[in-house]
């Protein structure tokens, strides 16, 4: 009986030795691209822009998925366990799922304080940092500010820069590649920004409503004015009283446009739109949110084109 249990308990140890041997053999081979794991598709896109063929990139949450509500699936643990670099949005966007993945990954590089962890939010412009006493009565509020900051291309540039610097630190021999690719991305982004600026310039000051507080950086970047939200507070479904107030406010200010993320039900926004003769517009809050938003620049290409068309219809400009 005892020997049976010995065999049962010895199995993990044997597997550990085999895995360590296999890992060592891989490490002794040719220099492999850095394995980068990102929590979102936006960060994945930026990592691909900067890293090129010197990195392999996996994004965990899909662009059409609510990034707050992601399951910490064991398949994600496998991905994080193999990562040379883990890039997170931060500002507690992933607080419900990323810590569990990191702890279970057994990967020392990506633990808190590890060389292979990058919080992309540390040198970007963060909006809506709450002041005063913060309570859950404010909804699912993020104490460190609104985490949807990647929706400002200026912040995208800062994220790419942070990724470039981290990749250089991890693979200094590829410094020239990362610097060149960043510079190329920077140039393309700058050219695209001029295009987006020109497209949205006629609508500066235009008013609209969004479902969730996903867009403050986007709207501030182009001078658009969000007068209200379908959610009364972050993460809280709207009661009828809030909808009535929102409809009154939209009618009072002549607002006709409601922007919705692809992972929210359209039922309530469409009900509001039908009452005010307005339009519901589904924009992509992340790369991959719609199939046309295949990378970071295409994300803005899509959103700006859709928004411009909707604003033209809503404002008549």
């Amino acid at each position: 009986m005892t020997s049976r249990y010995v065999r049962f308990l010895a199995a993990p140890a044997l597997a550990a030795v085999l895995a360590a041997v296999a890992g060592g053999a891989t490490a002794a081979g040719s220099v492999a691209p850095l394995k980068v794991v990102t929590t979102t598709e936006d960060l994945a896109s930026l990592a691909r822009e900067v890293g090129g063929d010197r990195v392999t990139v996996v994004g965990l949450a899909k662009g059409y998925q609510d990034p707050h509500q992601v399951d910490p699936k064991p398949s994600f643990i496998l991905e994080v366990s193999r990562a040379d670099l883990l890039i997170a949005v931060g500002r507690e966007l992933e607080i419900g799922w990323l810590p569990a993945l990191v702890t279970s990954s057994r990967n020392a590089k990506v633990q808190a304080g590890g060389t292979g962890f990058l919080d992309a939010s540390r040198n970007v412009k963060i909006l809506e940092i709450p002041t005063g006493q913060i309570t859950r009565a404010m909804g699912d509020v993020h104490p460190e500010g609104n985490p949807h900051y990647w929706l400002d291309p200026g912040n995208g540039r800062q994220i790419a820069k942070a990724i470039r610097d981290k990749l250089i630190a991890l693979a200094p021999n590829d410094r020239a590649v990362f610097e060149q690719r960043y510079a190329q991305f920077d140039t393309r982004l700058a050219a695209a920004e001029k295009k987006w600026d020109a497209a949205l310039a006629p609508y500066k000051g235009a008013k609209l409503v969004t479902y969730h507080r996903s867009w403050p950086n986007f709207m501030e970047r182009w001078g658009l004015n969000v007068i209200g939200y379908v959610e009364p507070k972050p993460g809280i479904p709207a009661p009828p009283s809030h909808i009535i107030q929102l409809i009154d406010e939209m009618q009072r200010q002549g607002v006709k446009l409601i922007v919705v993320e692809p992972y929210f039900s359209l039922k309530t926004p469409q009900s509001i739109a039908s009452r005010i003769g307005g339009t519901v517009l589904v924009l992509a809050p992340s790369v991959g949110g719609v199939k046309e938003a295949g990378d970071y620049i295409q994300l803005f290409d899509y959103n700006v084109a859709q928004l411009t068309a909707a604003l033209k219809q809503a404002t008549g400009r």
Partner: protein, 453 residues
């Protein structure tokens, strides 16, 4: 076995020991503006380009000084121990169009330290209030009770480990429900936990009460796996992640002191052991399957009636110690959650089968079997409905089969509170029947916990 224990302890020690100014890229040159003679179109374009370049260089310089100012403010905040200051750039940053534009200093990737308070652990408190109505001849629930208050303290210990404490206060007083350190940086894809914790036996045993999909635990948990308290004990757990391209495979080995509801040891040399193999695979991006096989073995103290103890007719009950109990469990979970509608729709189907073999004082083993199958479906953003079917023998009397079932409806106002109603029916082996309505209010304050998976 003693040699095995010694080698495990030595292995643990061995594992623990192993863990233990920006410069301008290019200076600007003054633009030479020829004002003496009228400029041609080419000259105008050239001057405009030069002006654009100068403007971009100016913006870049401004970014450099903004960044420097930001870093200085953050350092000042650190020195002064003041509040966390997050200072975004004062104006939206204009993009540099030329590669030779000035680069700011590398971004600071860590938040400035506000004060020593940041080292405090994440804290939260969960309250679990249960009301009960209806008939149950073996009732253990009073009409209303604060079933449990659980306080959690969780933080990173150092670069090599994190710690989690769960202190529970219930009807039986206060206790450390769990309190363990997890070494996260071991070689060989190993994860080591040391402390008091819920054993990795099956699925339901690993869940805290407030994370269950129903008010109560299944009958098989009550009859064969230690009841409400479950299999929770002081010991250590080593798990290994088998990296492969096909699926998630985790092997776990654990040793416990034998001071739980499930195992009771009367000697230091007799411990309880757990082994588990877990496999997981995504079937699609929205569905997955999670399978596990668990084994637990250890000494027990058995209290039996006189009829079961040879030659002990005169004594109402007697205790026999050091009798082996072995549990073998199989669990399977299927999950479906469409990503585009993840906040509105979810389906979890789960079953656990458990075989128990209890050594008895008068020779033959008592072999009991129990199982449950449950389903939980989210049909709206804040609403779940579920059902569970139970059937279980008893560890010391396999012929006594308890059967039951439950249906439950849960309303989740937010992630931090839930209200649940449950109807439960149990047909006890003695022939008695329970029909109960249970009501649960479950609420949390403090730090955001991990999503249950």
């Amino acid at each position: 076995m003693a040699r095995l224990r010694l080698s495990l302890v030595c292995g643990l020690w061995a594992l623990a020991a192993t863990t233990a100014s920006p410069a301008l890229a290019q200076s600007s040159t003054a633009a030479s503006v020829q004002a003496a003679k009228p400029a041609g179109p080419d000259e105008v374009r050239r001057v405009r380009e030069e002006l654009d370049r100068l403007r971009q260089e100016f913006d870049s310089l401004r970014r450099v000084y903004d960044d420097r100012l930001q870093q200085l403010e953050q350092r000042l905040s650190q020195i002064g121990g003041g509040p966390l200051v997050v200072t975004p750039p004062a104006v939206p940053v204009a993009p540099p169009a030329t590669p030779q534009a000035v680069e700011p200093a590398p971004p600071q990737t860590q938040a400035p330290v506000a004060s020593s308070k940041v080292f405090n652990p994440d804290m939260s408190v969960n309250g679990n209030f249960i009301g009960a109505a209806g008939r149950n001849p073996f009732a253990t629930l009073s009409p209303m009770q604060m079933s449990e208050v659980e306080a959690a303290f969780q933080a990173v210990v150092d670069p090599y480990a994190r710690a989690d404490f769960f202190l529970a206060v219930g009807r039986e007083g206060a206790e450390v429900e769990e309190g363990y350190i997890t070494f996260t940086s071991l070689p060989g894809n190993l994860l080591l936990k040391v402390g008091k914790m819920r054993a990795q036996f099956g699925k339901m045993n690993t869940l805290h009460t407030h994370t269950l999909p129903s008010v109560d635990r299944s009958l098989v948990t009550e009859n064969l796996v230690g009841g409400d308290e479950g299999f929770s004990d002081a010991g250590f757990s080593v798990s290994h992640l088998v990296r492969n391209p096909f699926m998630f495979v985790e092997l776990t080995g654990e040793a416990y002191a034998g001071t739980s509801e499930l195992f009771q040891s009367d000697q230091r040399s007799k411990l309880a052991y757990v082994g588990r193999v877990r496999g997981y695979r995504d079937l699609t991006e929205s569905s997955n399957i999670d399978l596990g096989v668990s084994l637990a073995t250890g000494p027990t103290r058995v209290e039996v009636g006189p009829g079961l103890l040879a030659g002990s007719i005169s004594t109402p009950t007697l205790s026999a110690v050091g009798l082996n109990r072995r549990l073998v469990g199989f669990d399977a979970t299927f999950r479906y959650r469409p990503l585009r509608r993840a906040i509105y729709q979810r389906l979890n189907l789960r079953t656990e089968l458990i075989w128990s073999r209890q050594e008895m004082p008068d020779a033959p083993y008592e072999r009991a079997f129990g199982m449950y199958a449950s389903g939980e479906y989210q049909f709206a953003r804040r609403w779940y409905i579920g059902a569970r079917a139970d059937r279980s023998g008893r560890a010391l009397d396999a012929a006594a089969i308890d059967k039951g079932g439950a249906v439950f409806l849960t309303f989740w106002p937010t992630e931090f509170s839930q209200i649940r109603g449950q109807f439960r029916r149990i047909n006890f082996a003695e022939g008695a029947r329970a029909n109960e309505f249970l009501m649960q209010f479950n609420f949390s304050i403090g730090a955001h916990g991990a999503h249950v998976f």
